[in-house]
């Protein structure tokens, strides 16, 4: 019998023997990525913090020295201009989130429970908006909602239903339609995951106890899917309050929210320190809202778990 693999004598050098101490070659796998993220993510964010405390300048992007002025200017503005925009942003975020939840829940439930042959097609439908660029999707809405030549307005006027065009775009309505559309998949996917993990037998149990479908939904399915609800709502809220393209394209400058304001300060007015301060005010406000929301909802979730 021939054994082509040599079994060397005792004590032969080993590659995978007892744990070696010190330098570990597997670290080569992780260093490039960690280096990249440290240099081009962590460091830039720290740098942005510093930038928000820089002195403004008219000729350069910032002047030497540090100041709290950028924050004070934004927060203590006598017209409350910036705080009002901040509040508008949060309200828009909350509204978009609520609408996404109401529209997304039935779809997620249906997708989770359907045994249709077309299940994967429906899944692709839910995913598809995610995979098409936000500009393209907004452009679709522009064609539909356009205030003068939009599909809806021209059709309604041709039919004689309305005299003059409706204002469907360049207002909060248009922006909301776009925001909900773009972010709905981010609501549906976590809900889908949560609902799929609920044992259908629980629903049958509720119905066997005399609950109607609607009450089963309300009393059993919804509470059990709260973790998914929490994930989805936070995701949509955060995405909404930091969205830029949709408000610009569907709202023009008549719907001013924080991200549009920030980019305006940076790109048009070249006020980098002030823009950075505004960006941080938005981040901190958003984080606070999410934190409070988490505290409130986590209690409810723990109650059911």
């Amino acid at each position: 019998m021939t054994n082509s693999v040599e079994v060397p004598a005792a004590g032969g050098a080993s590659a995978s023997g007892p744990a070696r101490k010190g330098w570990n070659p597997t670290l080569f796998l992780v260093f490039p990525t960690v280096g990249l993220l440290a240099a081009f993510l962590v460091f830039p964010y720290l740098n942005m913090v510093v930038m928000s405390f820089r002195n403004p300048s008219t000729s350069q992007v910032f002047a030497p020295g540090f100041t709290l002025g950028n924050y004070l200017d934004a927060l203590l503005d006598t017209d409350l201009y910036y705080l009002e925009i901040l509040l508008d942003t949060m309200v828009l975020g909350a509204a978009t989130t609520a609408i996404c939840l109401v529209l997304g829940f039935p779809v997620a439930y249906h997708l989770a429970r359907t045994s249709s042959r077309f299940k994967s097609v429906l899944y692709a439908f839910v995913l598809s908006p995610l995979l098409v660029g936000v500009v393209v999707r907004c452009y679709g809405w522009i064609i539909i909602l356009g205030n003068n030549d939009g599909l809806i307005n021209t059709t309604l006027m041709d039919l004689g239903i309305i005299e003059s065009p409706l204002a469907l775009m360049y207002n909060t309505f248009g922006v909301s339609v776009g925001l909900v559309h773009i972010f709905l998949p981010f609501m549906i996917l976590p809900l889908l995951g949560a609902i799929q993990s609920i044992d259908p037998a629980l629903e049958e149990a509720a119905q066997s106890l005399g609950a109607s479908r609607f009450r089963t939904m309300l009393r059993v399915v919804f509470p059990l899917s709260l973790p998914g609800v929490q994930a989805g709502t936070v995701l949509v809220f955060v995405l909404t309050i930091s969205s830029y393209v949709i408000p610009i394209l569907l709202g023009g400058f008549s719907v001013m929210i924080m991200p549009t304001l920030v980019v305006q300060q940076l790109m048009d007015a070249m006020l980098w320190p002030f823009g950075a301060a505004l960006a941080f005010i938005l981040s901190i406000a958003g984080a606070l809202v999410v934190y409070v929301y988490f505290r409130l909802t986590s209690r409810a979730i723990r109650g059911i778990a």
Binding site: S16, N24, V30, L36, F40, F43, V132, I143, H181
Partner: protein, 296 residues
């Protein structure tokens, strides 16, 4: 006494009325579901329709079929230039983030030990932070880094990062990396380690085992992650907007500038082509590995 109540409830709800109400509820529920699907898909369908519509504006009913907007797109140097630029950028971003993603996913799943969760979170950071903020941070950082090098006496030129493809590429890699990482680490977590042990027991070295057993089996995860990265990069907007240089614009940026001020359906042709490219990428994914391998 107590068990009287439910019986009564059953008794007073006449079967006919209850069924009607249930039917109505079900129709309402399915109605909402259908409407949401319509809502999700309409803009995409409309864009495609507008691109082959003869008239300036999409009307109902449409004015007839025409490819003239495509002709106008293909004759537009700006659009064609940015289309190819976007494709190239997405290609390189995909290559880089896939290479990094495979390596780091391997480390996180296999070797990270008690650092695993923290490291995972760190790599997902670009996904968790608002893209617009990351874009702003990068913009400042590039500016400051260039100024810093200049002050140190290394004039790298004003276009090392800003106004350069490199700066843009780094931004795209940052954003696409988490997607690749998620796809690959999911397939590594599902990977049955005893397959590797079987290979080792049969005499294969670590490297051979990786090449002949591990890699072929996690390939679907890698391909799915890479194609997703390609799609994401191809459609990326905020990073590109803030980091674009003079004279280099990605397709979404070019489209954005166009639809802000002009309304003619050339934009629809451009948008349709971009949808088609995405659909092709998805079909390749589906063909190679199945859509289910796409993970978010």
């Amino acid at each position: 006494m107590t068990d009287e109540a439910p019986r009564e409830a059953h008794g007073t709800a006449p079967a006919g009325g209850g069924r009607l109400r249930r039917r109505a509820g079900r129709v309402g529920y399915l109605g909402i579901v259908v409407l949401v699907y319509v809502y999700l898909l309409t803009p995409l369908v409309i864009v495609v329709l507008a691109s082959v519509n003869a008239g300036e504006f999409l009307t109902f009913p449409p004015e007839g079929f025409s490819l003239r907007w495509y002709v106008s797109f293909f004759e537009s140097e700006a659009f064609m230039g940015s289309l190819f630029f976007s494709l190239r950028l997405a290609f390189f971003a995909t290559i880089v983030s896939t290479a990094l993603g495979v390596a780091v996913a391997l480390y996180v799943v296999r070797f990270a030990g008690r650092w695993r969760e923290r490291l995972r979170l760190f790599i997902l950071l670009p996904l968790l932070l608002p893209e617009i903020l990351t874009a702003i941070a990068l913009l400042f950082f590039y500016y400051n880094a260039e100024a810093f090098f200049r002050a140190m006496g290394f004039d790298l030129g004003s276009g090392v990062f800003r106004n350069s493809v490199l700066g843009l590429l780094i931004g795209h890699v940052l954003i696409t990396l988490p997607f690749v990482f998620l796809g690959i680490s999911a397939s590594l977590y599902n990977f049955d380690r005893s397959l590797e042990e079987a290979a080792r027991s049969l005499g294969a070295s670590r490297l051979t085992t990786f090449r002949r057993v591990t890699l072929p089996i996690i390939k679907p995860g890698i391909i799915a992650g890479a194609l997703l990265a390609f799609i994401i990069s191809f459609d990326l907007f905020n990073i590109s907007l803030l980091l674009k240089g003079i004279g280099i614009a990605t397709l979404p940026i070019q489209l954005f500038d166009y639809v802000r001020w002009e309304f003619d359906p050339t934009a629809a042709a451009v948008a349709t082509v971009s949808i088609v490219i995405t659909v092709i990428a998805i079909l390749i994914t589906e063909k190679l590995v199945g859509l289910r391998s796409l993970r978010f």
